[in-house]
Protein backbone atom coordinates (compact mmCIF):
# COMPACT_ATOMS: atom_id res chain seq x y z
CA UNK A 1 0.00 0.00 0.00
CA UNK A 2 2.86 2.36 0.68
CA UNK A 3 4.75 1.60 -2.53
CA UNK A 4 5.46 4.58 -4.77
CA UNK A 5 3.51 4.47 -8.01
CA UNK A 6 5.57 4.49 -11.18
CA UNK A 7 4.02 6.57 -13.94
CA UNK A 8 6.65 5.80 -16.53
CA UNK A 9 5.98 2.07 -16.49
CA UNK A 10 3.03 0.02 -17.57
CA UNK A 11 1.13 -1.03 -14.47
CA UNK A 12 -0.96 -4.13 -13.94
CA UNK A 13 -4.59 -3.80 -12.90
CA UNK A 14 -3.85 -4.73 -9.29
CA UNK A 15 -1.26 -1.97 -9.13
CA UNK A 16 -3.64 0.54 -10.70
CA UNK A 17 -6.51 -0.45 -8.40
CA UNK A 18 -4.30 -0.04 -5.32
CA UNK A 19 -3.10 3.30 -6.67
CA UNK A 20 -6.68 4.61 -7.02
CA UNK A 21 -7.23 3.98 -3.31
CA UNK A 22 -3.88 5.46 -2.34
CA UNK A 23 -4.15 8.65 -4.37
CA UNK A 24 -7.67 9.33 -3.10
CA UNK A 25 -6.41 8.91 0.45
CA UNK A 26 -3.36 11.09 -0.14
CA UNK A 27 -5.27 13.97 -1.75
CA UNK A 28 -8.71 13.94 -0.07
CA UNK A 29 -9.44 17.55 -1.01
CA UNK A 30 -8.71 16.94 -4.66
CA UNK A 31 -9.40 13.28 -5.48
CA UNK A 32 -12.17 10.90 -4.57
CA UNK A 33 -12.75 7.35 -5.72
CA UNK A 34 -16.15 6.20 -6.91
CA UNK A 35 -17.13 2.64 -7.70
CA UNK A 36 -19.42 2.73 -10.72
CA UNK A 37 -20.12 -0.97 -11.12
CA UNK A 38 -18.51 -4.33 -11.68
CA UNK A 39 -17.04 -6.04 -14.70
CA UNK A 40 -18.17 -9.33 -16.15
CA UNK A 41 -15.58 -11.07 -13.96
CA UNK A 42 -16.81 -9.10 -10.93
CA UNK A 43 -13.94 -6.69 -10.62
CA UNK A 44 -14.96 -3.28 -9.25
CA UNK A 45 -14.77 -0.42 -11.74
CA UNK A 46 -13.10 2.58 -10.12
CA UNK A 47 -13.49 6.14 -11.27
CA UNK A 48 -11.50 9.03 -9.84
CA UNK A 49 -13.15 12.39 -9.42
CA UNK A 50 -10.42 15.00 -9.69
CA UNK A 51 -10.97 18.66 -8.83
CA UNK A 52 -11.23 20.96 -5.87
CA UNK A 53 -14.23 20.06 -3.78
CA UNK A 54 -16.75 22.88 -4.13
CA UNK A 55 -20.27 23.50 -5.32
CA UNK A 56 -21.72 22.69 -8.72
CA UNK A 57 -19.02 22.53 -11.33
CA UNK A 58 -18.77 21.61 -14.95
CA UNK A 59 -17.19 18.21 -15.46
CA UNK A 60 -15.20 16.39 -18.11
CA UNK A 61 -15.43 12.60 -18.28
CA UNK A 62 -12.33 10.81 -19.55
CA UNK A 63 -11.91 7.08 -20.00
CA UNK A 64 -8.86 5.02 -20.85
CA UNK A 65 -8.35 1.42 -21.81
CA UNK A 66 -11.59 0.54 -23.56
CA UNK A 67 -9.47 -1.75 -25.74
CA UNK A 68 -7.34 -4.03 -23.59
CA UNK A 69 -4.16 -4.09 -25.64
CA UNK A 70 -3.82 -0.31 -25.94
CA UNK A 71 -1.65 -0.04 -22.86
CA UNK A 72 -0.50 3.54 -23.40
CA UNK A 73 -4.09 4.64 -22.80
CA UNK A 74 -4.37 3.65 -19.08
CA UNK A 75 -0.83 4.96 -18.66
CA UNK A 76 -2.12 8.37 -19.80
CA UNK A 77 -5.04 8.42 -17.37
CA UNK A 78 -2.64 7.70 -14.51
CA UNK A 79 -0.28 10.40 -15.76
CA UNK A 80 -3.13 12.90 -15.94
CA UNK A 81 -4.10 12.30 -12.30
CA UNK A 82 -0.45 12.53 -11.25
CA UNK A 83 -0.07 15.89 -13.00
CA UNK A 84 -3.30 17.17 -11.53
CA UNK A 85 -2.37 16.28 -7.97
CA UNK A 86 1.27 17.31 -8.16
CA UNK A 87 0.79 20.62 -9.96
CA UNK A 88 -2.38 21.86 -8.29
CA UNK A 89 -1.48 25.04 -6.45
CA UNK A 90 1.78 25.36 -8.43
CA UNK A 91 0.81 25.47 -12.07
CA UNK A 92 -1.53 28.34 -12.87
CA UNK A 93 -3.52 26.63 -15.59
CA UNK A 94 -3.98 23.38 -13.70
CA UNK A 95 -5.02 25.24 -10.56
CA UNK A 96 -7.53 27.32 -12.50
CA UNK A 97 -8.94 24.22 -14.16
CA UNK A 98 -9.26 22.16 -11.00
CA UNK A 99 -10.76 25.07 -9.09
CA UNK A 100 -13.47 25.45 -11.68
CA UNK A 101 -13.86 22.06 -13.27
CA UNK A 102 -14.01 18.44 -12.18
CA UNK A 103 -12.65 15.51 -14.12
CA UNK A 104 -14.07 12.03 -13.90
CA UNK A 105 -11.18 9.77 -14.83
CA UNK A 106 -11.79 6.09 -15.53
CA UNK A 107 -8.23 4.70 -15.61
CA UNK A 108 -9.19 1.35 -17.11
CA UNK A 109 -12.57 0.81 -18.75
CA UNK A 110 -12.08 -2.76 -19.95
CA UNK A 111 -10.52 -4.16 -16.78
CA UNK A 112 -11.04 -7.87 -17.46
CA UNK A 113 -9.56 -7.50 -20.92
CA UNK A 114 -6.62 -5.52 -19.53
CA UNK A 115 -5.91 -8.25 -16.97
CA UNK A 116 -6.12 -10.83 -19.75
CA UNK A 117 -3.66 -8.83 -21.86
CA UNK A 118 -1.20 -8.93 -18.93
CA UNK A 119 -1.57 -12.58 -18.09
CA UNK A 120 -2.66 -14.59 -21.11
CA UNK A 121 -2.68 -12.71 -24.39
CA UNK A 122 -0.88 -9.39 -24.82
CA UNK A 123 -2.88 -8.63 -27.93
CA UNK A 124 -6.36 -9.12 -26.46
CA UNK A 125 -8.78 -6.33 -27.41
CA UNK A 126 -12.34 -7.08 -26.26
CA UNK A 127 -13.81 -7.62 -22.82
CA UNK A 128 -14.06 -11.17 -21.42
CA UNK A 129 -17.80 -11.82 -21.39
CA UNK A 130 -19.36 -14.90 -22.90
CA UNK A 131 -22.77 -13.38 -23.40
CA UNK A 132 -23.00 -14.73 -26.92
CA UNK A 133 -23.57 -18.39 -25.96
CA UNK A 134 -20.76 -19.44 -28.28
CA UNK A 135 -17.22 -20.57 -27.58
CA UNK A 136 -15.94 -17.15 -28.57
CA UNK A 137 -15.23 -14.73 -25.77
CA UNK A 138 -15.56 -10.98 -25.68
CA UNK A 139 -17.41 -7.99 -27.02
CA UNK A 140 -15.81 -4.88 -28.46
CA UNK A 141 -16.93 -2.32 -25.89
CA UNK A 142 -16.42 0.47 -28.38
CA UNK A 143 -19.11 -1.05 -30.60
CA UNK A 144 -21.51 -1.68 -27.73
CA UNK A 145 -22.85 1.83 -27.04
CA UNK A 146 -26.31 2.88 -28.10
CA UNK A 147 -25.24 5.04 -31.04
CA UNK A 148 -26.83 3.59 -34.15
CA UNK A 149 -25.85 0.31 -32.52
CA UNK A 150 -25.15 -2.60 -34.83
CA UNK A 151 -25.62 -0.68 -38.07
CA UNK A 152 -22.22 0.10 -39.59
CA UNK A 153 -18.63 -1.10 -39.21
CA UNK A 154 -19.47 -3.82 -36.70
CA UNK A 155 -19.76 -7.56 -36.66
CA UNK A 156 -22.52 -9.71 -35.23
CA UNK A 157 -20.16 -12.69 -35.13
CA UNK A 158 -18.98 -13.21 -31.53
CA UNK A 159 -15.67 -14.54 -32.83
CA UNK A 160 -14.80 -11.24 -34.52
CA UNK A 161 -12.70 -8.54 -32.92
CA UNK A 162 -15.39 -5.94 -33.60
CA UNK A 163 -18.32 -7.97 -32.27
CA UNK A 164 -20.89 -5.47 -31.05
CA UNK A 165 -22.61 -7.66 -28.44
CA UNK A 166 -26.14 -8.96 -28.24
CA UNK A 167 -27.67 -5.51 -27.76
CA UNK A 168 -26.63 -1.95 -27.05
CA UNK A 169 -25.17 -1.83 -23.52
CA UNK A 170 -25.35 -5.62 -23.26
CA UNK A 171 -21.99 -5.53 -21.47
CA UNK A 172 -21.72 -4.76 -17.78
CA UNK A 173 -18.82 -2.40 -18.36
CA UNK A 174 -20.66 -0.37 -21.02
CA UNK A 175 -23.79 -0.30 -18.88
CA UNK A 176 -21.87 0.95 -15.84
CA UNK A 177 -20.19 3.78 -17.76
CA UNK A 178 -23.32 4.78 -19.67
CA UNK A 179 -25.43 4.77 -16.51
CA UNK A 180 -22.91 6.90 -14.63
CA UNK A 181 -22.74 9.41 -17.47
CA UNK A 182 -26.54 9.56 -17.80
CA UNK A 183 -26.89 10.16 -14.07
CA UNK A 184 -24.37 13.01 -14.22
CA UNK A 185 -25.34 14.57 -17.53
CA UNK A 186 -26.31 17.81 -15.87
CA UNK A 187 -22.65 18.50 -15.11
CA UNK A 188 -20.70 16.60 -17.78
CA UNK A 189 -19.83 19.05 -20.53
CA UNK A 190 -16.93 17.23 -22.15
CA UNK A 191 -16.15 13.62 -22.99
CA UNK A 192 -12.71 12.24 -23.87
CA UNK A 193 -11.87 8.66 -24.73
CA UNK A 194 -8.25 7.66 -25.03
CA UNK A 195 -7.11 4.99 -27.49
CA UNK A 196 -3.97 4.05 -29.38
CA UNK A 197 -2.49 4.01 -32.02
CA UNK A 198 -2.53 6.24 -35.19
CA UNK A 199 -2.01 9.73 -33.78
CA UNK A 200 -5.43 11.18 -34.40
CA UNK A 201 -7.92 13.41 -32.66
CA UNK A 202 -11.43 12.44 -33.68
CA UNK A 203 -14.88 13.84 -33.09
CA UNK A 204 -18.44 12.80 -34.07
CA UNK A 205 -19.75 11.26 -36.04
CA UNK A 206 -18.53 7.77 -36.82
CA UNK A 207 -21.86 6.18 -37.59
CA UNK A 208 -23.01 8.69 -40.19
CA UNK A 209 -21.46 11.05 -42.69
CA UNK A 210 -23.76 13.76 -41.32
CA UNK A 211 -21.91 16.62 -39.66
CA UNK A 212 -22.44 17.31 -35.98
CA UNK A 213 -24.39 20.55 -35.39
CA UNK A 214 -21.31 22.23 -33.88
CA UNK A 215 -18.94 20.63 -36.39
CA UNK A 216 -17.04 23.82 -37.16
CA UNK A 217 -16.46 24.48 -33.49
CA UNK A 218 -15.28 20.91 -32.82
CA UNK A 219 -12.98 21.13 -35.81
CA UNK A 220 -11.47 24.35 -34.52
CA UNK A 221 -10.99 22.99 -31.00
CA UNK A 222 -9.39 19.82 -32.42
CA UNK A 223 -7.09 21.85 -34.66
CA UNK A 224 -5.90 23.94 -31.73
CA UNK A 225 -5.54 20.90 -29.46
CA UNK A 226 -3.40 19.12 -32.05
CA UNK A 227 -1.33 22.26 -32.51
CA UNK A 228 -0.72 22.38 -28.75
CA UNK A 229 0.22 18.70 -28.71
CA UNK A 230 2.64 19.07 -31.61
CA UNK A 231 4.32 22.08 -30.04
CA UNK A 232 6.21 19.88 -27.57
CA UNK A 233 7.99 17.29 -29.74
CA UNK A 234 6.58 17.95 -33.20
CA UNK A 235 4.43 14.82 -33.16
CA UNK A 236 2.05 14.96 -36.10
CA UNK A 237 -1.62 14.29 -35.50
CA UNK A 238 -4.52 14.15 -37.92
CA UNK A 239 -7.83 15.50 -36.73
CA UNK A 240 -11.40 15.40 -37.98
CA UNK A 241 -14.62 13.47 -38.13
CA UNK A 242 -14.26 9.78 -37.22
CA UNK A 243 -16.18 8.46 -40.21
CA UNK A 244 -13.88 10.14 -42.69
CA UNK A 245 -10.54 10.39 -40.87
CA UNK A 246 -10.61 6.81 -39.66
CA UNK A 247 -13.61 4.80 -40.91
CA UNK A 248 -17.37 4.51 -40.35
CA UNK A 249 -18.37 2.62 -37.20
CA UNK A 250 -21.43 2.54 -35.00
CA UNK A 251 -21.77 2.00 -31.28
CA UNK A 252 -18.74 4.02 -30.29
CA UNK A 253 -18.60 5.82 -26.98
CA UNK A 254 -17.79 9.29 -28.32
CA UNK A 255 -20.76 9.29 -30.71
CA UNK A 256 -23.02 8.08 -27.92
CA UNK A 257 -21.78 10.72 -25.48
CA UNK A 258 -22.35 13.40 -28.09
CA UNK A 259 -25.90 12.27 -28.78
CA UNK A 260 -26.59 12.23 -25.05
CA UNK A 261 -25.93 15.96 -25.12
CA UNK A 262 -22.21 16.25 -24.35
CA UNK A 263 -21.31 18.63 -27.14
CA UNK A 264 -17.55 18.42 -26.70
CA UNK A 265 -16.78 14.79 -27.36
CA UNK A 266 -13.38 13.67 -28.63
CA UNK A 267 -11.46 10.46 -29.18
CA UNK A 268 -7.69 10.38 -29.04
CA UNK A 269 -5.56 7.81 -30.83
CA UNK A 270 -2.18 8.21 -29.15
CA UNK A 271 1.27 7.21 -30.40
CA UNK A 272 2.52 5.80 -32.58
CA UNK A 273 1.88 5.31 -36.29
CA UNK A 274 3.01 1.71 -36.52
CA UNK A 275 6.64 1.46 -35.57
CA UNK A 276 5.57 -0.21 -32.33
CA UNK A 277 1.78 -0.22 -32.64
CA UNK A 278 0.26 -1.60 -29.45
CA UNK A 279 3.73 -2.43 -28.15
CA UNK A 280 4.91 1.12 -27.51
CA UNK A 281 7.97 0.88 -25.23
CA UNK A 282 7.82 2.23 -21.70
CA UNK A 283 10.43 4.84 -22.58
CA UNK A 284 7.78 6.50 -24.78
CA UNK A 285 5.20 6.80 -21.99
CA UNK A 286 6.56 10.07 -20.65
CA UNK A 287 6.84 12.00 -23.93
CA UNK A 288 3.51 10.63 -25.14
CA UNK A 289 1.74 11.67 -21.95
CA UNK A 290 3.43 15.06 -21.76
CA UNK A 291 2.36 16.05 -25.25
CA UNK A 292 -1.14 14.61 -24.79
CA UNK A 293 -1.57 16.66 -21.62
CA UNK A 294 -1.24 19.83 -23.68
CA UNK A 295 -4.11 18.81 -25.95
CA UNK A 296 -6.31 17.67 -23.07
CA UNK A 297 -5.65 20.87 -21.15
CA UNK A 298 -6.53 22.91 -24.21
CA UNK A 299 -9.83 21.08 -24.64
CA UNK A 300 -10.58 21.39 -20.91
CA UNK A 301 -9.99 25.15 -20.95
CA UNK A 302 -12.24 25.49 -23.97
CA UNK A 303 -15.01 23.44 -22.38
CA UNK A 304 -14.80 25.43 -19.16
CA UNK A 305 -15.07 28.74 -20.98
CA UNK A 306 -17.60 27.82 -23.64
CA UNK A 307 -19.92 25.03 -22.48
CA UNK A 308 -23.27 26.27 -21.29
Amino acid sequence: FTARHCYTKYNSWDTIAAWTARIAKKYPKLVSRIEIGNTFEQRPMYLLQVGKVSGRKKTIFMDCGIHAREWISPAFCQWFVKQATRTYGKDKTMTYLLDNLNFYVLPVFNIDGYVWSWTKDRLWRKNRSNNSNTDCIGTDLNRNFNAAWGTVGVSDDPCDEIYCGTAAESEKETKAVATFIRENLHSIKGYLTIHSYSQMLLFPYGYTSRKAPNHDELNKVAEEAVEALSSMYGTKYKYGVSATIIYPTSGSSDDWAYDEGIKYSFGFELRDRGKYGFLLPQSKIKPTCKETMLAVMHIAKYVLNHAS
Binding site: K9, Y10, W71, W118, T119, K120, D121, R122, L123, D140, G153, S155, D160, E161, I162, Y197, S198, I246, Y247, P248, T249, G274, K275, Y276, G277, F278, L279, L280, P281, Q282, S283
Partner: protein, 95 residues
Protein backbone atom coordinates in the same frame (compact mmCIF):
# COMPACT_ATOMS: atom_id res chain seq x y z
CA UNK B 1 4.40 -12.70 -17.04
CA UNK B 2 3.44 -10.53 -19.95
CA UNK B 3 1.97 -13.07 -22.24
CA UNK B 4 1.24 -16.73 -21.83
CA UNK B 5 0.47 -16.92 -25.56
CA UNK B 6 3.66 -17.12 -27.50
CA UNK B 7 4.14 -14.63 -30.28
CA UNK B 8 7.53 -16.02 -31.18
CA UNK B 9 8.30 -15.18 -34.84
CA UNK B 10 4.79 -13.78 -35.33
CA UNK B 11 4.88 -10.81 -37.70
CA UNK B 12 3.07 -7.55 -38.31
CA UNK B 13 2.65 -6.63 -41.97
CA UNK B 14 1.76 -3.29 -43.48
CA UNK B 15 -0.03 -3.19 -46.82
CA UNK B 16 -1.41 -0.19 -48.69
CA UNK B 17 -3.97 -1.46 -51.20
CA UNK B 18 -3.77 0.57 -54.39
CA UNK B 19 -7.05 -0.45 -55.96
CA UNK B 20 -10.26 -2.37 -55.37
CA UNK B 21 -8.66 -5.62 -56.51
CA UNK B 22 -6.07 -5.33 -53.74
CA UNK B 23 -8.73 -4.42 -51.18
CA UNK B 24 -10.65 -7.54 -52.17
CA UNK B 25 -7.46 -9.57 -51.90
CA UNK B 26 -6.92 -8.47 -48.29
CA UNK B 27 -10.52 -9.19 -47.38
CA UNK B 28 -10.32 -12.62 -49.02
CA UNK B 29 -7.04 -13.31 -47.28
CA UNK B 30 -8.64 -12.43 -43.94
CA UNK B 31 -11.38 -14.95 -44.62
CA UNK B 32 -8.96 -17.83 -45.13
CA UNK B 33 -6.12 -16.90 -42.77
CA UNK B 34 -6.16 -15.75 -39.18
CA UNK B 35 -5.25 -12.07 -39.49
CA UNK B 36 -5.38 -9.93 -36.38
CA UNK B 37 -6.02 -6.40 -37.64
CA UNK B 38 -4.16 -3.68 -35.79
CA UNK B 39 -5.24 -0.91 -38.10
CA UNK B 40 -8.01 -0.63 -39.11
CA UNK B 41 -9.87 -2.70 -36.51
CA UNK B 42 -11.14 -5.21 -39.04
CA UNK B 43 -10.97 -6.27 -42.68
CA UNK B 44 -14.41 -4.71 -42.98
CA UNK B 45 -12.90 -1.23 -42.81
CA UNK B 46 -10.18 -1.71 -45.42
CA UNK B 47 -10.36 0.73 -48.34
CA UNK B 48 -7.95 1.78 -51.06
CA UNK B 49 -4.87 3.79 -50.07
CA UNK B 50 -5.35 3.00 -46.39
CA UNK B 51 -2.36 1.72 -44.43
CA UNK B 52 -3.42 -1.68 -43.23
CA UNK B 53 -1.45 -3.29 -40.38
CA UNK B 54 -2.15 -6.86 -39.35
CA UNK B 55 -0.53 -9.47 -37.18
CA UNK B 56 -0.03 -13.03 -38.41
CA UNK B 57 1.12 -15.98 -36.31
CA UNK B 58 4.47 -17.60 -37.05
CA UNK B 59 2.96 -20.70 -38.62
CA UNK B 60 0.87 -18.68 -41.09
CA UNK B 61 3.21 -15.82 -41.92
CA UNK B 62 5.15 -17.67 -44.65
CA UNK B 63 1.92 -18.58 -46.45
CA UNK B 64 0.55 -15.05 -46.11
CA UNK B 65 3.78 -13.62 -47.50
CA UNK B 66 3.65 -16.05 -50.43
CA UNK B 67 0.02 -15.15 -51.19
CA UNK B 68 0.88 -11.46 -51.21
CA UNK B 69 3.87 -11.97 -53.47
CA UNK B 70 1.89 -14.14 -55.89
CA UNK B 71 -0.72 -11.41 -56.11
CA UNK B 72 1.89 -8.65 -56.46
CA UNK B 73 0.81 -6.93 -53.28
CA UNK B 74 3.55 -4.70 -51.95
CA UNK B 75 4.06 -5.13 -48.24
CA UNK B 76 6.35 -4.10 -45.46
CA UNK B 77 7.18 -6.16 -42.40
CA UNK B 78 6.69 -3.73 -39.51
CA UNK B 79 7.56 -6.18 -36.75
CA UNK B 80 9.53 -9.35 -37.44
CA UNK B 81 9.18 -11.10 -34.13
CA UNK B 82 6.29 -10.00 -31.93
CA UNK B 83 7.53 -11.85 -28.87
CA UNK B 84 10.74 -9.84 -28.92
CA UNK B 85 8.76 -6.60 -29.26
CA UNK B 86 6.51 -7.59 -26.36
CA UNK B 87 9.56 -8.08 -24.21
CA UNK B 88 11.13 -4.82 -25.47
CA UNK B 89 8.12 -2.79 -24.36
CA UNK B 90 9.61 -2.85 -20.90
CA UNK B 91 12.89 -1.45 -22.28
CA UNK B 92 14.89 -4.16 -20.60
CA UNK B 93 13.57 -3.29 -17.12
CA UNK B 94 11.78 -5.92 -15.11
CA UNK B 95 8.23 -4.96 -14.31
Amino acid sequence: LVSASSFDRAKVFRVKPQNERQVKFIKDLASIKQLDFWHPDSALHVVTHMEVDFHVSADQSRAVQTFMEQNRIQYEVLLHNLQEEIEKQFDGKKN
